[in-house]
Symmetry: C2
Subunit: 223 residues, 2 copies
DNA sequence: CCTACCGATCGGTAGG
DNA sequence: CCTACCGATCGGTAGG
C-alpha cells in the first residue's frame, strides 16, 4: 500500500486500465480475436502481468461485462425516473438512451457480440438482472396505452425488446451502416431511429399529406 | 473425369459441403472462434482436405460471404417486384423478408458479425453491391410519400437501413432476445417487429382506442 | 511485475 | 499428367 496522497493520485489503477483496454479490443475484434498479448501491449505491460490481475482470459471477459452492466445499472434508474407516457418525455428519455450507448459504442459492440458468442449466458442475463428494467419500461407503455397516449396494439414487452435491440445494434455498427446513407448520414441516421421508435408508439394527430407543424411546439426541422 | 451420369448424381460436391459447414460454424462462433479443424470435423474430412479446396481460411471466409450474397441477389429481386406502397403489399413483402432471413438465421449472424469484425470491408459492400437495392426500396417509399400512403417525415434511405438492420439482428439473435419475453415469445416477437416497421411508415386511419379491423381485407391473423 | 518457459494447438504445406 | 485427398510436420503463437 502507498500513502494516502498517492491513493487519490492513482484512481485509474492497473485493473481498471486492463479492463478498459480489454473492452476496446473485445469490441473491435471479439473475444477470440483478441489475445492476452494484445491487451498487454495496449496497456504497456507483459502478458503474465495481465494474468496476474485476472487469473484467466475468461475472468477478464467477465470483468469487462460486469463493468458494462455496472455502468448500465448506474444510469438506467435515473433515466427511467424521467419516463412517463408523454411525447415530450419520450424524446428526452430516448435521446438519453441513445447518448448512453453512443457515448461509448464499444459497450454496445461487446453486448451484441456477447449475444452471438454466448447465447445461453445472455439469455440468463436477460431473464435475470435485465428483466426488471424491461418490465418497468413495458409497464410505462401499458400505462400510456390505457390513457390513450399510445397505440393499443403495441405489445409493450416485445416493443421494448425490439427498440432496445435496435438502439444497441444501431450504436454498435453506426460507423458501418451510416455508409449506406448518401449524405448528412449521421444526423439523418439518429433522427430516423428516434422517429421509428416514436411513430411505432404515438399516434399522429396531423394528416400524412399536410406539412404544417400543427401542434408540436419546437420541432427541430432541418435547416 | 467420370461418366456423364455421375456428374448429375453429385451436385452437392465437397466445396458446397465445406461452405455450408463453415457458414454454420462462423455464425455460431465467429471467424476467429472457428478452426479449420472444426470445419474439417463437421464435414468428416481432414484439415488438409479443406485447405485443398480453399487455399486459406481467409478464402473460405470470402466463399461463405459470397454464398450469402448470391442467395440474397437471387431472392431480393423477386421480393422487390412485389413491393408497392400499399398496406397489403407491405405485409406480404415484409413477411417474405423475415422468412428469407428466418429460414436460415446463420446468414444473418454471419452478416452481423462481419459488420463488427470487418467494418471497412462491410462499408464497401454497403456502398457497392448492396446500395442499389437499398435505393430501390427507398424510392418505393418516396413514391408512397408522394401519394400520401406514407408519413411525409419518413427519411426513406435511413428508414430502409434501420429496418433492414433491425430485421437482421432480430433474426440473428431471436433465440436470445425472445428470452426476455415472458410468454408466447416467438409469435409476439415477430408480430411486434412487423408492427413497428409498419407503424413507422403507414399512418393509421382508426383511433388508437378502437379495436375494429376496419379496412384491411385479409389480414393473416393468428389462428 | 518480468524472464523464461510448458503442453497444445493454430493455419498452412511438405512428400507420396 | 490430373484430382482429391492422406499422415505428418512445418514455423509461430495461444493461454497459462
Amino acid at each position: 500500500m502507498v500513502g494516502p496522497r498517492a491513493k487519490l493520485a492513482a484512481p485509474s489503477d492497473a485493473g481498471t486500465q486492463i479492463v478498459a483496454a480489454a473492452t476496446r479490443l473485445f469490441a473491435a475484434h471479439g473475444f477470440d480475436g483478441t489475445t492476452v498479448q494484445d491487451i498487454a501491449d495496449a496497456v504497456g505491460v507483459t502478458k503474465p502481468a495481465i494474468l496476474h490481475h485476472f487469473a484467466s482470459k475468461e475472468q477478464l471477459r467477465q470483468a469487462v461485462l460486469e463493468g458494462i452492466l455496472a455502468h448500465w445499472n448506474q444510469t438506467l434508474p435515473r433515466l427511467l425516473l424521467k419516463a412517463t407516457a408523454s411525447e415530450a418525455r419520450f424524446d428526452a428519455v430516448f435521446e438519453e438512451l441513445l447518448d448512453f450507448f453512443a457515448s461509448d459504442p464499444d459497450r454496445a459492440r461487446v453486448l451484441v457480440r456477447e449475444g452471438l458468442d454466448r447465447p445461453e449466458e445472455t439469455k440468463r442475463l436477460l431473464r435475470g438482472p435485465v428483466q426488471p428494467w424491461l418490465q418497468a419500461v413495458a409497464r410505462y407503455i401499458h400505462g400510456g396505452q390505457k390513457s390513450g397516449d399510445h397505440y393499443d396494439d403495441v405489445d409493450p414487452e416485445a416493443y421494448v425488446v425490439h427498440i432496445l435491440q435496435l438502439v444497441l445494434v444501431a450504436t454498435a455498427s453506426s460507423a458501418v451502416t451510416q455508409a449506406a446513407i448518401t449524405k448528412d448520414a449521421r444526423r439523418r441516421y439518429v433522427r430516423e431511429l428516434a422517429r421509428i421508435a416514436k411513430a411505432a408508439l404515438f399516434p399522429k394527430q396531423k394528416k400524412p399529406t399536410s406539412r404544417r407543424p400543427s401542434r408540436r411546439s419546437s420541432k427541430p426541422k432541418e435547416s
